[in-house]
Symmetry: C2
Subunit: 349 residues, 2 copies
């Protein structure tokens, strides 16, 4: 469902200089504080961890893992984890790099299994693993990545293990809830928010909490930054949903209208259903909507107010995140976490 | 692939008295040492753990988990884990019960994903989860159970986490290797052994190693009992493979010939291919063999020497397990681990 800050078919987050290059292309970033560069070194260590962890005697596991991991993921979850750690004065980064790696591995595992569930053909601008390597190998590789995440997170204390496991449990519960509302026109904004809380925001929330916890933040501080992560994650997904309607195929790395095609209740779809927009309702309900039907529904949404409303929603959650971040001690990293909130709602890819 | 010591559609391992009932039905057990009863109390705690851990706010996750977990699994992996613990004088069983639970949860998760991979309709005498609940929910429930296993195993030290993760990695690598040899007549006994080592025996090996480790066994003792587990697991799978050809549907809780139907290289199939048995070769290669074709191949195998040879193989590995167990200090539990090896090759369901 996501599409932000990646280059089609190229993994480009591997060195600070490359990061700087990406950031320069985004006007907003040049005027603001760049959240990447101040954790670029640690993100590079996360990359090394990821590359090392997917080695297997069965090369297809490595190949499928690499296909997705080296396809230009944004690493936004590791990034917020690392920023949260540093915002609370965390110094020795070895452990938090491992936690950030676990978070990204979990995210990647769920993408592989999601692609099976959605029957997706395209992911991050290239053929999905499911399409290229088939269901069986893709399923097993998802398991493999979950196990690798366990290796990283399982080294830490009970709190880390429990929070990580809880986030993963929420992901599965979110997937089930989303499945329940697949092509189901009864879905409400409240249902949508619950799905997003579980499916997207939980890893943002847990990443930020773990980052703060590893840095020795107090329990209330951990709670605040977790709430920041939760709201940031919700805003992030909402913008993603909007871009699935109005974004550009080349920038997104996938066609628009994927949520309509898959019958997944994105925010603009839910808002269109709420006002009884017939073209959207018919397309969303249809098991195999034609491309013409999808185009019609996208155009109808473009004419309606759903997109505008969805943007208002995303701003509301990003603003909430920005306000929550004020509660933590001021620092360079706090400023960058705030900037990230603004970046997320300003982005157009 | 397995079918041993369970009652169709009934979960019957919940109390020592029920266990005693099962054991009494097996002539061999009456003459031998019953490996169940001496860890019945701990197995009951494993049951309680399992039931508690599958609770979810999404009832379908609980329902699918329960469908498989409460369908009469033999709990042979938790059992050997507990016996290994006690064989090395382990006393406080709380921790090893959690480890044994993790091992069973991992096994159950892989069964759910295996059923998707094999497109299986039947498991433990009832409709497979994949058939009844569909691919999507079954896939997610498999993930859910992996996560619950992680919750249990992640509480322990790095050794426990690493061995558990390594066993899980082997399971995925075994699945890939099995996929490679699916309907592939080039498969050799060596390939078969490597698949079984990874897919079945690794959890037996890791369970016994972890049991011994938790009891404070020395590294060489841990290694021996792990080798016992490995060989026991191989023998166990070989007997399972034989029963898939010559077993009784009612006792197995599934039709015979499943490995031929799914194209999975079981030992009798591999041995039949080795001698160029045409009916087996044609059926094994065929993407959708008819029931008549499968029956023909089963009959051909019944006439050939593959079954007899497979039994010899299973005895060889069970004997190896029995010899390895002699290396550990004599005890009631050692005798029962040895009895288990004999039971496994004697069973006819």
């Amino acid at each position: 469902m996501e599409s932000f800050l990646y280059q089609q078919n190229k993994r480009k987050i591997q060195s600070p200089s490359v990061l700087a290059g990406i950031v320069e292309k985004i006007p907003f970033f040049k005027e603001s504080l760049d959240p990447f560069s101040c954790v670029a070194e640690e993100l590079e260590l996360v990359e090394q961890n990821l590359t090392r962890s997917i080695r297997s005697k069965e090369c297809v596991l490595t190949e499928i893992s690499s296909h997705l991991i080296h396809s230009g993921g944004k690493r936004v979850r590791p990034m917020v984890t690392l920023l949260a750690f540093k915002a609370f004065g965390g110094k020795r980064t070895g452990d938090v790099v491992d936690i950030a790696t676990a978070i990204e591995l979990i995210h990647t595992a769920t993408l592989l299994h999601d692609d099976i569930i959605d029957g997706a053909n395209i992911r991050r601008g290239r053929e999905s693993a499911n399409k290229r390597f088939g269901l069986k190998s893709t399923l097993v590789t998802g398991d493999f990545l979950f196990i690798k995440a366990f290796e990283f997170a399982g080294k830490f204390d009970d709190t880390v293990v429990q929070w990580t496991a809880d986030a993963c449990t929420l992901l599965t519960e979110g997937e089930i809830l989303q499945g329940y509302f697949n092509r189901n026109t009864k879905v409400t904004v409240k249902d949508y928010l619950e799905i997003v809380r579980r499916k997207t925001a939980s890893l943002f929330q847990t990443g930020t909490k773990l980052g703060a916890y590893m840095a020795g933040a107090t329990p209330p501080q951990v709670e605040w930054i977790g709430q920041y992560g939760l709201n940031l994650g919700i805003a992030f997904q909402m913008v993603d949903d909007v871009l699935d309607i109005v974004g550009h195929k080349e920038l997104l790395g996938k066609p628009t209208g994927m949520d309509l095609r898959d019958g997944n209740p994105s925010l603009p779809i839910v808002l269109s259903l709420r006002v009884g927009q017939k073209a959207v309702m018919d397309t969303f309900e249809c098991p195999h909507p034609s491309e013409g039907k999808i185009r019609g529904a996208l155009e109808a949404m473009g004419r309606g107010i759903a997109i505008q409303q969805a943007k208002v929603y995303s701003k509301k959650y990003a603003l909430k995140a920005s306000k929550l971040i004020e509660k933590i001690p001021p620092s360079l990293y706090r400023s960058r976490l705030r900037a990230l909130g603004q970046l997320i709602i300003e982005r157009d890819f």
